[in-house]
Every structure is written in structure tokens, then in C-alpha cells.
């Protein structure tokens, strides 16, 4: 037995020993009547069971075309977010684009301005990678006070998918970027033609012009038929409904890289082009709004991710941050992707606080709320990645701490 597994086995057997010989009474359910009649016939496109209810948190907005929905991360397992539950953030609604007419124009400081159809892009060499996409504003409500009542409310502007597309580097090499081309500006085909500037180094490193998500075409609300995927960078630069990329010598200073997505500091200056999403984690079970059935075995579960690389370590505290235990990390651990962590735990039925903190391959450890606000003040709005505490009551209820 490998060392890690052995340690985990010992932890688990310790828990079994702690639980003692007396079997706790399990919940009783109504007797299941197995159907004798035939079930439903085969069908062309699947749906989930009628008994499953996980859904995105949808706010009541006067203008629902500009706003966001949040992934119910506490109701997902593993590291892949179902496409149907991937968070949304739109600035002018979701366009309905016909892929047979949609094109990507690549121009500006290039030797050969090119137009690609969606079919052209699918012909080119493809790559698939699992990456998270996180809105820079995720957890923004936590800056002023750690008030988020549940995982979706405070962390739901993050999701993780397998993206398939053409490496942007291939397109840039086809067009031939001129030496003066230091930035690109990418534009979507939504009504507001949302646009963002990106350094050319990142474009050449690992960006994708993606056309597929989790094995099928990208969903309309995720950018169908084409979106830019910029691994580890704030969600807003992953331009959806991508229609043109212009190579330029300077950032265009668009609305969403000046008035928005800049991080106000305590001294009144604002950081600009803070692209990378720093390491972050959240316990998804037990988490706000859930209720523990009773004392005894619990598997603490959560997600960690970092825009700077791989998650190397997640530590969990079940005593309000006094002592910490390393959680098991589900392999494979992928760069710039969700990593699932788990820790077996026996709840003694007493009130306590639980929290997690992640460390990444860049040598960065997720800060406490205090460390973060000490460095930046509480006005930054974006890029909050402080640890999140959940409070477990004696009745098993879990609330924001």
C-alpha cells in the first residue's frame, strides 16, 4: 500500500474505531417499489433524473441580460462542472449565433490578416485541457464582511470544464505577428461587443480558441460557437462569442479593463491588468445552508484552484483555525484546474468552525481574510481569495462564520 493510501487507511480505521461497535441508526426510507412496467424508450439527447434539482443561483434582476448566475458548487462532485451549471456573466445578453455564418477575423499588426470560419478552426490541430474559469468578482462580497451564506453565493462565479479548440499560438503563427505587436484585443459578438486586451506573451503561451466544452459544442451562454480560453486569468478576458482579434502595440484601455476589473487599494490607487486568479479553496461539504444528519463520520469535501499552477496542498482546520490537517488531493492534479480535496472527519456533535487553505506550485499559500485586507484594504471588489470559515452549530446546521 503506498504511503499516502496507508495513512488515509489508518485515518479511516481510526474513525471506525472511534465510532465504536454500536451501529448508529440509519434514516428509514419508504419501501422502493421496483417497476414492473417497461421504462422509458431510448432517446436522442439525455436529461437528468426528475429527482435532481441542482441549479444555478439566478438573481432577480431588472435587466437579466446584464448579470450573473452562480454555479451550485456544493452540489457538484469531482472537478468538472456540468456545462448546464457553468456560471454565467453577461454584459448584453446571450446572442444566438449561427456557426455556419460566424467567422473569426485576425488582423492588426500581422503579416497576413486572416478570416477563419468555424469549420476552418475545427480543421486545424486541436487540443483539450481542463481549466477553471473564475470571474474576478467571485467572492467580491467577502471584502467588506465575510457574509456569503453559502458556497454558491460566495464562490459560485467559478466553474471548471474541459475545453477543446485551436491553440491561439497556431493562429498567430499563421497570421505572422509583427515585432511591434505586443498586445491583442479580443472582441465578442454580443450586443455590447465586449472587448479586452491581453499581452501577446499569454496568447502565445496557452490560450485556446475553443469550440467545445465537456465533449460537446460550447453552450450559447458560454460563448457558442467560439470563445477565448485564457487559462488561470480572470473570467472576463475569456471573451465569449469571439469574432475578432486585433494585434496591437498597446492595450486598448476598454471599459472592462479600466472602470471595471481594476482593483482599488487602500491608498486610492487601483491595480490594473491583474489577470491571474490567485490560489483559493472552499469547503463544499459541510458548507453554509447544509445540515449534518448527526454526530459521527463526515467526509469533508472541497475544491481548490490556482491560476499560477497546480494545487500542491490543502490544509483543513476543524477547530476554527487552531490546528490544521492535510487533506487528500484527488489525482490528477492539473494546472489551472479545480482540484478536489477530501478529509475524513468525525464530528463530535459540538459547535465548531471549519475552514481550508490551499497552497500552489508557485509557492503561494491562500491568505487569511485579515492578511488580504491588511495588504489591500476592503475596496478592491475583485480578486478576493481569503479563506472561508463555516460554522457548524450543535444542531448540525452550517452557517457562514
Amino acid at each position: 500500500m503506498p504511503k499516502n493510501e496507508r495513512r488515509r487507511f489508518l485515518q479511516l480505521s481510526g474513525i471506525v474505531a472511534l465510532a465504536g461497535c454500536s451501529q448508529q441508526p440509519g434514516a428509514k426510507v419508504d419501501e422502493e417499489k421496483l417497476p414492473s412496467a417497461l421504462g422509458k424508450p431510448i432517446r436522442a439527447y439525455g436529461e437528468r433524473s426528475q429527482f435532481e434539482t441542482a441549479k444555478r443561483a439566478v438573481p432577480d434582476l431588472k435587466r437579466p441580460q446584464i448579470g450573473s448566475t452562480r454555479t451550485p458548487l456544493a452540489e457538484t462532485e469531482g472537478i468538472i462542472t456540468p456545462s448546464s451549471l457553468h456560471f454565467e456573466r453577461h454584459h448584453a445578453g446571450v446572442p444566438d449565433l449561427d456557426p455556419s455564418k460566424h467567422t473569426l477575423l485576425l488582423h492588426g499588426l500581422v503579416e497576413r490578416p486572416l478570416v477563419f470560419t468555424v469549420a476552418d478552426l475545427k480543421r486545424l490541430p486541436s487540443a483539450s485541457h481542463i481549466y477553471f474559469v473564475e470571474c474576478a468578482g467571485n467572492s467580491g462580497g467577502e471584502w467588506k464582511a465575510p457574509g456569503g451564506p453559502n458556497v454558491a453565493a460566495s464562490f459560485g462565479l467559478a466553474s471548471c470544464s474541459e475545453w477543446t479548440g485551436v491553440p491561439l499560438k497556431i493562429l498567430l503563427e499563421e497570421a505572422g505577428v509583427k515585432p511591434a505587436g505586443k498586445w491583442l484585443v479580443a472582441e465578442g459578438a454580443d450586443a455590447c461587443k465586449m472587448s479586452r486586451s491581453l499581452p501577446i506573451e499569454k496568447a502565445l503561451e496557452d490560450c485556446l480558441v475553443a469550440y467545445a466544452q465537456n465533449g460537446e459544442a460550447i453552450r450559447p451562454e458560454q460563448g457558442y460557437p467560439l470563445r477565448l480560453v485564457v487559462p488561470g486569468y480572470e473570467g472576463n478576458v475569456n471573451v465569449k462569442w469571439l469574432r475578432q482579434i486585433k494585434i496591437v502595440d498597446q492595450p486598448n484601455q476598454t471599459k472592462d479593463e479600466t472602470s471595471k476589473y481594476t482593483d482599488l487599494l487602500a491608498d486610492g490607487t487601483a491595480r490594473q491588468f491583474t489577470f491571474v486568479m490567485d490560489a483559493k479553496s472552499v469547503i463544499t461539504y459541510p458548507s453554509g445552508g447544509q445540515k449534518l444528519a448527526g454526530p459521527g463520520f463526515q467526509e469533508i469535501r472541497g475544491l481548490a484552484w490556482s491560476g499560477r499552477g497546480v494545487i500542491e496542498k490543502v490544509e483543513v482546520s476543524t477547530d476554527g483555525g487552531t490546528t490544521w490537517t492535510k487533506a487528500a488531493l484527488q489525482e490528477p492534479r492539473l494546472p489551472k484546474a479545480f482540484t478536489r480535496f477530501r478529509l475524513p472527519w468525525k464530528w463530535d456533535g459540538k459547535e465548531t468552525e471549519i475552514t481550508a487553505r490551499a497552497a500552489d506550485s508557485a509557492g503561494y499559500t491562500q491568505p487569511s481574510r485579515e492578511e488580504l485586507t491588511e495588504a489591500r484594504g476592503a475596496n478592491s471588489q475583485y480578486h478576493y481569495n481569503g479563506v472561508k470559515m463555516w460554522k457548524i452549530g450543535a444542531d448540525g446546521s452550517v452557517k457562514n462564520a
Binding site: 497576413r112 478570416v115 490541430p125 475578432q244 487601483a270 495588504a375
Partner: protein
């Protein structure tokens, strides 16, 4: 000889291209699609307008959301907030926060009015931009905004931005 010529022509077409997928973009289609504008004025169209010119279109197409004087209504304000950025309640407006005047043109042009983006022509856009700048006390009511003058407008918070200097947290104390 003929086959050699064909090879030569293909070779020229393929110069620098490995896959030869996609087609060359024409100058016309680039012009029709490229509406980017940079802070140095690159991409700003011909046209002009003053704050005075902008009042009519503003009251008809902008005031409902942004307020008659830019004070905000259904949406956030366009004016105010000067001196607030260090306080517990920072108010980020065009006047107090936006670093470049060209961004206002770019955004109004591409995204406003919210329910009908792209509605305003160049003169109307320059006029509305001039009015927003005037409401913030940055230019005079009769100052003309055009492709030459707009990039020269110095926004009050032009020097308020700094580079990303993270990591500023996350070094483990032990």
C-alpha cells in the same frame, strides 16, 4: 514548366503559413469589423460634438438610466465621487475613476444605449462624450470633441492606476 509555376505560386501563397487554412481578409472587411480605438486616438472616427450638442440626445437616450444630470438612476452615476477613492465608500465614476477619455467614446459607441447599442452616429457619440466630460467639470460646454481633441483630454484619475505587483500576500509565515 507549367507545374513549376503552380508550385511557385502555391509556395508564395503559403509563405510563412504552415496549414493554409482560412482565407486572406480584405481591407474592406477589416475596416467594417474593426471598431477598436486606443488611448492615443488610433481608430477614433471622423466627427465632432460639444456638450451643448449632446444635451438633446442625452435626455432622450441616456437620462432614463443615468439621471438628467448624470447623477445615476436605474444605473450607476456618471459624475461625482471625487476624493472618495480612499474612503470606505468609494464612488467610481467617469469623473473620479476613468483614466482615459477615449474609453468613454469606445464604450458608448459599442455598448450604448443599453437596449440599442450602436444607435448613435459619430457626431452624436462625440457630443454625448463631451457632455459626460462637461458634467464632470473636465471640459467646457463649447469645447469640441473630435478624433484630435478627445485623446488629449487628461482625466482627473489618469495617474491613479498601478501595475499588478502581486503577490502581496500568501507567503507563509513560519
Amino acid at each position: 514548366m507549367r507545374s513549376l509555376l503552380v508550385v511557385f505560386v502555391l509556395g508564395v501563397c503559403a509563405f510563412g503559413q504552415k496549414y493554409n487554412v482560412g482565407r486572406a481578409a480584405s481591407a474592406d472587411e477589416i475596416k467594417a469589423t474593426d471598431q477598436f480605438m486606443a488611448p492615443d486616438g488610433t481608430g477614433l472616427p471622423a466627427g465632432k460634438g460639444t456638450a451643448a450638442d449632446g444635451r438633446d440626445i442625452y435626455s432622450r437616450r441616456c437620462a432614463r438610466c443615468h439621471g438628467a444630470q448624470g447623477q445615476g438612476d436605474e444605473e450607476g452615476p456618471l459624475v461625482g465621487g471625487k476624493g472618495s477613492l480612499k474612503t470606505a465608500k468609494p464612488l467610481k465614476t467617469v469623473g473620479s475613476f476613468w483614466p482615459y477619455a477615449t474609453t468613454i467614446y469606445d464604450y458608448v459607441h459599442r455598448a450604448m444605449p443599453f437596449d440599442n447599442p450602436g444607435l448613435l452616429d459619430a457626431n452624436q457619440t462625440y457630443s454625448v462624450v463631451a457632455l459626460i466630460l462637461h458634467m464632470n467639470g473636465i471640459i467646457g460646454e463649447r469645447d469640441e470633441m473630435n478624433a484630435q481633441t478627445l485623446p488629449k483630454v487628461k482625466m482627473p484619475n489618469r495617474d491613479g492606476f498601478v501595475k499588478d505587483n502581486r503577490p502581496d500576500t500568501g507567503k507563509k509565515k513560519k
